[in-house]
């Protein structure tokens, strides 16, 4: 049924339709509305047969989920940013134990400096922990991916993070089609664990594994993610057949057929990029886009197939590996490794800490990429003036003070103005 609702609410309803049995989360911006929505639905009975547990930390939230999942219950949690890091040990524990927990990650920057706005640093921080990671482009996809995530997680006994841009998606109100319970039930059968704590058949889960078998355990996790490369498109196709729309899958292409420049990006920014591409195409510029939905497993072959035809690839990402550059760009490089005549990959770091990515800025950087591509990471809309001033200050004075506060002071009132209007510089 079509509804005009907040993305968080749509996600809560979709998750509710998946018949979760234990929901346990700790509040953190921007995931709060999702969990609050679920809590209400449990209280009103819209979600039946479900325990909603309030805990004292994210570490506890995922730990409760681990216990519940190991005992055979369909478990769900949600977090962001600092919260994901606070549960980091449990994140590895859940995937190492092979528990099919589904988690919403409301993508948010990680401090310091503390920042509540959107970027992908949280997902990147734990992208190698053994969880699958799917990135939603729209709120419709955000809702749909949760349904697919439970199916995928339980089939492979491996947890899944559904990544949803904080605020941009979670707090946006838009038109979303909420499926029926019957359709979701037909798509997602009840959870059948491959391992379960049961007095009728006692087993020990979580023993130490020494050098003689640890590699094999990890290898099998890696192998499962290669199976996911096949399952993700299968489940997306099944989803389309039942629910009538494209959602999920490994990646999507937009106007790449004769593109000389292909952009690669994840998440909500893809919508803005599509509008920009249409405008550039209207000017005769041969540019296209590949939207990556699955980041883990990384769809190396599928991506390579889309990118080989181009001359240049521009990776636009909301993440920075400090000291290295763009982690997504690095992953894209992998897809083109050892490919003869492969396109050049150019890295753009954008949108960190919630800085809006505008059509105007995208036009500038993509048009530049067509004629004069750069080496290394390019920081979109970097305020070079305040950076230069800070560098100058730091060279002059030893006790130069906290960097963040210095920059903010230089921005002065303009900071509040820009933040309010989201104008790029």
């Amino acid at each position: 049924m079509l509804k005009q609702i907040e993305g968080s609410r749509a996600m809560a309803e979709a998750i509710g339709l998946c018949r979760p049995e234990v929901i346990c989360a700790y509040p953190i911006t921007p995931q709060t509305h999702i969990v609050e929505g679920l809590g209400e639905m449990v209280r009103t009975g819209d979600i039946k047969n479900c325990e909603f547990i309030n805990v004292e930390s994210e570490f506890a939230a995922l730990s409760v989920s681990i216990g519940a999942s190991a005992a055979g219950a369909r478990a769900y949690t949600a977090t962001a940013s600092q919260g994901l890091l606070f549960m980091a040990e449990a994140v590895y524990n859940a995937s190492g134990l092979g528990l099919p927990i589904v988690m919403t990650l409301g993508n948010r920057a990680i401090g310091a400096p503390i920042n509540i706005w959107n970027d992908h640093s949280d997902a990147m921080a734990l992208c190698d922990a053994g969880w699958m990671q799917l990135f939603a482009e729209t709120n419709q996809e955000a809702a749909d991916l949760h349904i697919q995530a439970f199916r995928l997680a339980e089939e492979l006994s491996m947890p899944v993070m559904v990544c949803v841009d904080g605020f941009i998606l979670t707090h946006a109100v838009e038109r979303i089609d909420i499926p029926t319970q019957a359709d979701v039930d037909a798509y997602l059968p009840p959870y059948e664990p491959v391992q379960v704590l049961d007095p009728k058949d006692p087993i020990s889960i979580g023993a130490m594994v020494g050098p003689d078998a640890f590699t094999e355990v990890r290898y099998l996790q890696h192998y499962k993610q290669t199976l996911a490369l096949r399952l993700i498109p299968e489940y997306a196709a099944e989803f389309k057949a039942r629910f009538g729309r494209d959602s999920g899958g490994l990646l999507r292409s937009y106007r790449v057929e004769d593109a000389e420049l292909i952009v690669v990006a994840m998440g909500s920014v893809n919508g803005t990029i599509k509008d920009t591409i249409d405008e550039m195409r209207a000017d005769g510029l041969p540019v296209g886009l590949v939207t990556l939905v699955a980041f883990r497993p990384f769809p190396t072959e599928a991506l390579r197939a889309q990118l080989v035809r181009a001359r240049d690839v521009v990776v636009i990402e909301k993440s920075l590996a400090v000291g290295m550059g763009g982690p997504l760009a690095n992953n894209v490089d992998l897809a083109l490794r050892n490919v003869a005549g492969a396109p050049h990959v150019h890295s753009v770091i954008a949108g960190l800490g919630g800085r809006p990515i505008t059509c105007a800025s995208l036009h500038r950087v993509l048009r530049r990429a067509l004629v004069q591509p750069w080496e290394g990471a390019h920081f979109l809309d970097l305020n070079e003036e305040i950076v230069a001033k800070e560098l100058h200050h730091v060279r002059k004075v030893r006790r130069s003070g906290p960097t963040a506060e210095n920059l903010l002071r230089r921005l002065g009132q303009a900071a509040e103005q820009s933040a309010v209007l989201g104008a790029s510089r």
Partner: protein, 342 residues
Amino acid sequence: MNEPARTLDPTQKLHFYQKGTFTVGNRLVSEQERAVQASIDRSNALTCGHRACQGCGEALGARYAIDAAMRETNGQLIAVNATGCLEVFTTPYPETSWQTPWLHSLFGNAAAVAAGVAAAMRVKGRRDVRVIAQGGDGGTTDIGFGCLSGMFERNDDVLYICYDNEAYMNTGVQRSSATPPAARTATTPAMGPEPGNVFGTGKSVPKIAVAHGIPYVATATVADLHDLERKVVKAMRIHGARYIHIHVPCPLGWGSASNDTIRLARLAVECGLFPVFEAEHGLVTGSRKIRRQVPVDDYLKPQKRFAHLFGSEQGNKRLAMVQAIADRNIVEYRLLDHDGDV
């Protein structure tokens, strides 16, 4: 002159000096009073073949506690274990000595994981299946403290058992917040002006558990295994958050003889350093009285971790400080107050 041989009257009642113990052995004890461990029908949830040290107090306590819980729940029990000695020596890869469903997650989250298991059992309609979380003092009083308090606060239906050997033993005897003052550990060495653990530090998790107002809190000791079983059974008859803190000497970490484990546990009780008590909903309901008080020295001397307290003036001063702690416990928990409960 020869006295005629005396013969014992078979109907004469024999009185044993140590009243209230079972030192004559179970065969003289009635069936109902026998320990679960005395029964050949015991579940052996923690069965033989584990790799605990000779004289390990934790293995002893865990065996008694879990089998008592198994009997009380008709074997419908799931155990969640924190990282630590118990977890390591009971699951030496590729073996396990657990015959009940058992989950080891992390060091600091046993209480939360157990809450999750309990929630799953409720959701699945299996309310007969009960959950025990267990960990050492490190995993309980320090790194697991947040999750423990959260479990208490929510009144989750979990019995948490802490096996307190007063240090991080498995990693090489490092100090925890349960390490008593003056004790030598690898991170509070017997060196410098104040050798051993610092006075004025440490926390009593049993007291904190009482302060949470949960349905049942008890301390127990491997010196009184019947009492331990009784407390576990009592706890399993209650729903909600419960906490049992068991004092378990560690020969390796304490530097004591492996055959002294139970004796030391008893001395800890009898000198007042380990009060044995029960509490319900925030109020202490009773304590085990000290039969024959001994000075703390008797308890500390057989342990090498306290060796630096003996034979110096500074050592004597610090012994007196330890004695003061014992004396305070005796007053606080009325351990010599014999007109109270036993």
